[in-house]
Amino acid sequence: MRVINPEVSSMQAFLRGKILSHLILFARRLKERGLKITPGRVIDAARCLEFVDWSVRKDFAEALKANLVSSREEQAVFEDLFEQFWGREQKGKAKRMVSSEKGEEGREISAEKLLSICRAEEPPADKEGDNGEKANTGYSPEEVLAAKDFSQFPPEDTALLEREFIRLLSQLAEKESRRRTPASKGREMDFRRTLSRAVHHGGEILDLVRRRRKIKPLKVVVICDVSGSMDSSTRFILQFFFGLQRVFRKSETFVFSTRLTRITDILKRNRWAGALAAVSQRVPDWSGGTKIGQCLQLFNERFGPSLAAGSAFIILISDGWDLGSPELLDAEMKKLKRKSRRIIWMNPLAGTPGYQPLSRGMRTAWPYIDYFLPANTLKGLRAMGEVLEAKGARG
C-alpha cells in the first residue's frame, strides 16, 4: 500500500515518547493472534494518534481498533488484548496461563489418540465390533470393494482411496453463477458485445455474440463428528476432508464432538501428514461425547451469517448419537436447513443392512435432511457425488 505522510515532523514530535514502540509491539501481538496486520495499517494507526486525543483511553482504543481490526471476530480479540496490553490489571494474563496449560494437556492426549487413528491397525475399533457393542457389526466382508468399510482398508490402500476421492470430487466442483461469459453456443444474446463489435464494422451488425452463465465453484460445508462413537470411521473421514478441501477451494470444514472447531485453514495449508498433526493440536475434545445441537448452534451463530442463503451444500457426518437436548438440535437443524441449498447427512451406520434411524439425534434431524447416505464406503461417496451433480441441485 502507498503511504502518504506529509507531516513526519509533527508526528515525530508527539511520538517522542515510547508510544510508537509500544504500538508496534501491540500490533505484533495482534498479528500473533491471527489479525491481518500490515505495516501500512500500523502506520495509519500511528497517524491517527495525531487526530484523536489519545490520552482519552476510549478514543485511543477506537482509533487503534478502526485501523487494526477487520471483522467482528477480530474485534473481540482486539478488545481482549487491548485490556491486557494497555490495561492496568493483570487478570487477563493469569487467565491465559491457565487456559494454555489446559490446552497443552488436551493436546498431548488428542495427538496420541489421533496417531492411533491414523495407524491403520485400529485394534480397538475392531474389537468393539467383535463384541457386538457397535452397530457396524452388520458389515459383511463378502461385499464388493465399493461397499467395503473404510476402517477395514489396509494402510497401503489409503493412496488409492485418496485418488478415488479426488476423482469423484473433481467432477462436482462446479456450479452455475449469474455472471455471464461469452460462448459461441450460449442461449442468451450479448447485446453489449454485439454492438461494440458492430462499431468496428462501421455500425453493421455482422455477427451476434452469445453468452451463457458462467460456471462458479460449488460451495460445500462439511461438519464432521469426531466423537468417541465415530472412532472407527474417523481416519477415512479426515482423509476425505483433505481431498475435498483440495478440490473445492471454497469449501469449509468443521469438526465437533462437544465443541465445534474450524479446520479449513489447516487442511488448506498443510500436506496430509502435517494436516493431521495440526488438526490434533487444534481440536481440544477429540473423541469426547457428542453435542450436535450445541455445535450446530455455534455454527449457525458464528459462521451461518457468512453463508448466503441457499448457496451451500451442507454435509453433516455423524452417527447421530447425541447427548444434548433434542429441542436444541431441532431448532438448529431448522435454521441450518433455511441457510443451505441441500443438507446431506452421512452416517457410518447407514450402510449396515437393516439400519433404521432410531437414535434420538438421528430421529430429530431426520425431517430436515435431503439425503441420507452411508459415510464409510465408497458407494456412499459415489452417491454423494451423484447428489452434488444432480440437475435438481443446481441453478
Binding site: G40, F51, K65, S71, R72, R179, G203, P305, A331
Partner: protein
C-alpha cells in the same frame, strides 16, 4: 471540516443521526486519513444511513452504488453508449462527414454513460463527494477485486479518452451484511467499524429524533419491547428501522400505549418471516409485554401499561 470527534458527533446528531462516540471517531479518522470506512452490522442498524448523514453534514453529494451478484465494471464504472454511436455513424455516413472526425467524436465523453464510480471520481465540484458502496457482500469476488483497484488510486483509465484522476478523493463508505466474507485485501484498505443494536437509551433518542411527535409512554414501551425481542432467538432480529416503522404504525393507528391487541395488529412491522411470527405467537406477546408492564428491570423505571 470538523476539528475533532465531538464536532462531527454533534453535527450528526444535528442531522438526526443519533450515534455514539466510537462511530463518530471512525468517521472522523476516515475523513482525516482519507481512507474508506467499512461498516458492518446486523440488518437495520443504520449502516447505509451513515453515508447519507455524512453527505448531509459535509454538504456534498451522495453517490450510491448498490451491489448485487453479477455487478461488473460496465454497470459500475462506465460504458459507451453503443446505440448512440451507431446512430451517429449512420448519420455521418449519410452526410458524408470526414471519417477521422467521426471516429474522434463518437469516443468523446458525450457518448460515455457514467456509472457511479466514474461519477464519484470525475467530480467537478469543489468538494469531495461521499461514495456509498452499499451491501458489498452481495457482489461477487471479481467485482471486489476490481473495486480494490479503484479504491487504491482513485483513477480510472478509459482507453479511448485517457486516465482520469480524482480531483478530490471521495469519502468512501462501504457497508456489508456479512452474507459472505470479504477478502482480506479489501478489509485491509479500510477502517473497520461494527455497529451493534443500540442500547435502550440510545434507541429512545433515535426514535425521538426521527419521530418527533411520539408519546413518552409509547416510546418507552416500544423501545423496551424491542430490546426484549432482540434478546430472544429469532431468525431475523428486528433492527432500528423496524422500531421506527412500528412506532409510526402505532401512531397512525392512534395508539397511545402498547397492549397485546396493538402488538398483534402490528406484528408485521417487526417480523418479516413466517417462522418468527409463529414463534412470537407461540411464546406469547403477553409474556414480553407482561415483563414490561410489571417491572422494568432494564432501566429500573416504572412504566404504566394498560
Amino acid at each position: 471540516m470538523f476539528a475533532n470527534v465531538e464536532e462531527i458527533q454533534r453535527a450528526m446528531e444535528g442531522a438526526k443521526y443519533i450515534t455514539d462516540r466510537s462511530t463518530a471517531t471512525v468517521l472522523y479518522l476516515g475523513l482525516k486519513l482519507q481512507k474508506p470506512t467499512l461498516v458492518e452490522g446486523e440488518a437495520g442498524v443504520g449502516k447505509t444511513e451513515i453515508a447519507k448523514v455524512l453527505a448531509e453534514i459535509l454538504q456534498t453529494r451522495l453517490i450510491r452504488l448498490q451491489c448485487y451478484e453479477g455487478l461488473d465494471a460496465g454497470t459500475s464504472l462506465y460504458e459507451w453508449n453503443y446505440p448512440k454511436q451507431i446512430l451517429w455513424m449512420k448519420k455521418a455516413e449519410v452526410c458524408e462527414a470526414p471519417q477521422e472526425a467521426v471516429g474522434k467524436e463518437i469516443f468523446s465523453s458525450e457518448f460515455l454513460i457514467r456509472r457511479p464510480l466514474l461519477d464519484a471520481i470525475q467530480n467537478d465540484s469543489s468538494k469531495p463527494v461521499v461514495l456509498l458502496i452499499d451491501e458489498i457482500d452481495r457482489s461477487d469476488e471479481e467485482f471486489e477485486a476490481f473495486l480494490l483497484e479503484v479504491l487504491s488510486d482513485f483513477q480510472i483509465t478509459i482507453p479511448e479518452i485517457g486516465t482520469l484522476h480524482a480531483k478530490h478523493r471521495p469519502h468512501v463508505v462501504l457497508t456489508s451484511n456479512r452474507t459472505r466474507e470479504l477478502h482480506d485485501a479489501l478489509r485491509r484498505r479500510c477502517l473497520y467499524h461494527w455497529i451493534d443494536y443500540p442500547s435502550l437509551e440510545k434507541e429512545k433518542r433515535i426514535v425521538l429524533a426521527k419521530v418527533p411527535g411520539v408519546e413518552e409512554t409509547l416510546l418507552s414501551q416500544v423501545c423496551l419491547f424491542m430490546q426484549r425481542v432482540r434478546q430472544k432467538d429469532f431468525f431475523k432480529r428486528p433492527g432500528v428501522a423496524e422500531t421506527l416503522d412500528w412506532v409510526q404504525a402505532l401512531m397512525a393507528m392512534g395508539r397511545k400505549e402498547l397492549d397485546a391487541a396493538a402488538v398483534h395488529e402490528t406484528l408485521g412491522c417487526i417480523f418479516k418471516h413466517y417462522e418468527d411470527l409463529k414463534m412470537i405467537e407461540e411464546s406469547g406477546v403477553e409474556n414480553l409485554l407482561g415483563l414490561i408492564s410489571r417491572r422494568d428491570d432494564l432501566t429500573g423505571a416504572r412504566i404504566t401499561c394498560a
